[in-house]
Structure formats: C-alpha cells, structure tokens
C-alpha cells in the first residue's frame, strides 16, 4: 500500500477525506440516473398522460389514501 505513483493527484488525500468528499465512483450515480432521464419516454406513459384528463381528481376522500 506504499505505492504512490501520482495516479490522479486529487485522490491521494487519505481515507479521512472519504467521509467529507464524494468518492470517486460518485459520478456513476449521476450517470445511472441521467441515463434513465435521457431515455425516450415509452408510449405507455404518453398514453397514461393522455388518459389523465378523463380521470377526475379524488373528491371528498382526502384522507386515507
């Protein structure tokens, strides 16, 4: 573990910093999330959204659900 080859100079600060700073894989979380956000919306969602107007909002049953 003594090797210090200067690979990625920002990563050499020691384990203590891991708690304060997002780890190096953190960008992957955004990639996972963004990759779904950027997907084309399946037709099933467009169909559902088109149908919403025909569904009345809940009336008189504000509690319970």
């Amino acid at each position: 573990m003594a090797s210090n080859d200067g690979h990625g100079g920002n990563a050499g600060a020691g384990d203590e910093s891991a708690r304060r700073r997002p780890p190096e894989w953190a960008d992957g979380l955004k990639q996972l999330y963004d990759s779904v956000v950027e997907e084309a919306l399946p037709d099933s969602f467009k169909d559902l959204i088109d149908r919403l107007d025909a569904i009345p909002p809940a009336r008189g049953r504000d509690s319970g659900q």
Binding site: M1, S3, D5, H7, G8, A18, R19, P22, P23, E24, W25, A26, D27, G28, L29, K30, Q31, L32, Y33, D34, S35, V36, V37, E38, E39, L41, P42, S44, F45, L48, I49, L52, D53, I55, P56, P57, A58, R59, D62, S63, G64, Q65
Partner: protein, 207 residues
C-alpha cells in the same frame, strides 16, 4: 369531448393544465428514481405509473409553485415501500445497465463498472439507498431529501455517509453480488431493513 370542469373541482382549468404539464415534465425523473430504488426497469415503470395516478388523484394537495419533483418523489417512495412490503420486488436488477467502465482504481485488477455500482447500490438498506439516490444522483440538497423522506437533516446526512462508505467498501473489495447469484442474500437484507422501516423506525408510511 366534454370539457366542463366545474363539477366540484377546486382548481381552474388553467391550474389543472399547469399541473398536468409539470407532472409530465417530471416523469423522466420519476423513472430514474424508481429504477434506482427497485432495479428492474419494468417494475420501476409500473411504480411510476402508479405514482402518476396517485399524484393526479391528489392534485388538490399540490401547492403550485413548490417542487413537483419533490412532491411526486414522496408519493413514489411511499408506493415503493408499500410494494416492497408486499414482496413485489425480488432482488432483480437491471441487466441492461451498460458494462461501461466507471473508474479504474490504482492497484486494483478489475476496473469498476457502472453495472457493479448499480448492483452494489441495490444491496443497500432501502433508507440508505434512497438517501444516496436523492442526494448523490437526483441532486437534492440534504434539506430537500430530508423533507422527502420525512426525517431530520442529520439523519439524511448520516444515511448518505453510511451508504457511501458501504459502496466504497464493496467496490474496493470487489465484494459485489454477481448477476443471478447471491442476490437473494442481498435482497433479504433489504427486506429485513424494510420491515424495520415499515414498522415505523424513521419512515412515516401511514395512510
């Protein structure tokens, strides 16, 4: 087309159309959050559809001008917790996640792939996973995430910290469940945690 909207609705037609547009705009985000929570794309999309219908039914409770994304995420997570208790999700994850290399730590033979991260994420207890997703992927502040989860800001910080530590540990050691084996172990851990969550420790899933 009968466009009359006056039969007992509290909202004007313009407000309803604003609501619908905002709701439509957050669908991609709901899909991303749901995918992170439950792994399998088809089940995640079912969850989003359920969320949209619930949000639509509850639209009178949405305050115009506030965050539609935060509001619908609350609905989605509650639906998720309910479904989890019914065992609808059984430790399956997205086989379609790209085998893209995420990072190649020095001194490690195998680089970390995006799919590794995704599988590792799905082994986390539900409340830590959602906290990390909200903050680390969805870009919510700790305060916003706390509001969505109905808990204290300090609790969210702690969950995110623990989630990050667990993922770092798993990714560094390579102790990530492989596809189609070991999932049951990981998932039963999630379910155990959910029992606790559902029992009222930290999550208000009443109603």
């Amino acid at each position: 087309m009968s466009g009359e909207q006056h039969s007992g609705d509290r909202r004007t037609a313009a407000e309803k159309s604003d609501f619908k547009r905002e709701l439509t705009d957050v669908v991609p985000h709901l899909r991303a959050f749901a995918r992170g929570l439950c792994g399998r794309p088809d089940l995640a999309d079912d969850l989003v559809q359920e969320t949209l219908l619930k949000a639509w039914a509850a639209q009178d409770r949405f305050e115009p001008g506030t965050s539609m994304r935060a509001w619908t995420f609350v609905i989605l997570r509650n639906a998720y917790l309910t479904d989890m208790r019914r065992n609808r999700f059984r430790g399956e994850y997205d086989e379609g996640v790209a085998e893209r290399i995420l990072t190649a730590p020095a001194g490690q033979e195998e680089p970390i792939h995006l799919s590794d991260l995704h599988r590792a994420l799905l082994t986390l207890p539900a409340e830590r996973r959602e906290a990390l997703l909200l903050v680390g992927a969805g870009g919510f502040s700790y305060e916003e995430a706390a509001a969505i989860c109905g808990c204290a800001v300090g609790t969210i910080k702690s969950r995110v910290g623990r989630a990050r530590a667990a993922l770092s540990e798993m990714l560094a050691s390579g102790a990530i469940p492989r596809r189609s084996s070991g999932d049951d172990v990981a998932h039963s851990a999630i379910l155990e945690e959910l029992d606790e969550v559902a029992a009222g420790n930290g999550v208000s899933s009443r109603g």
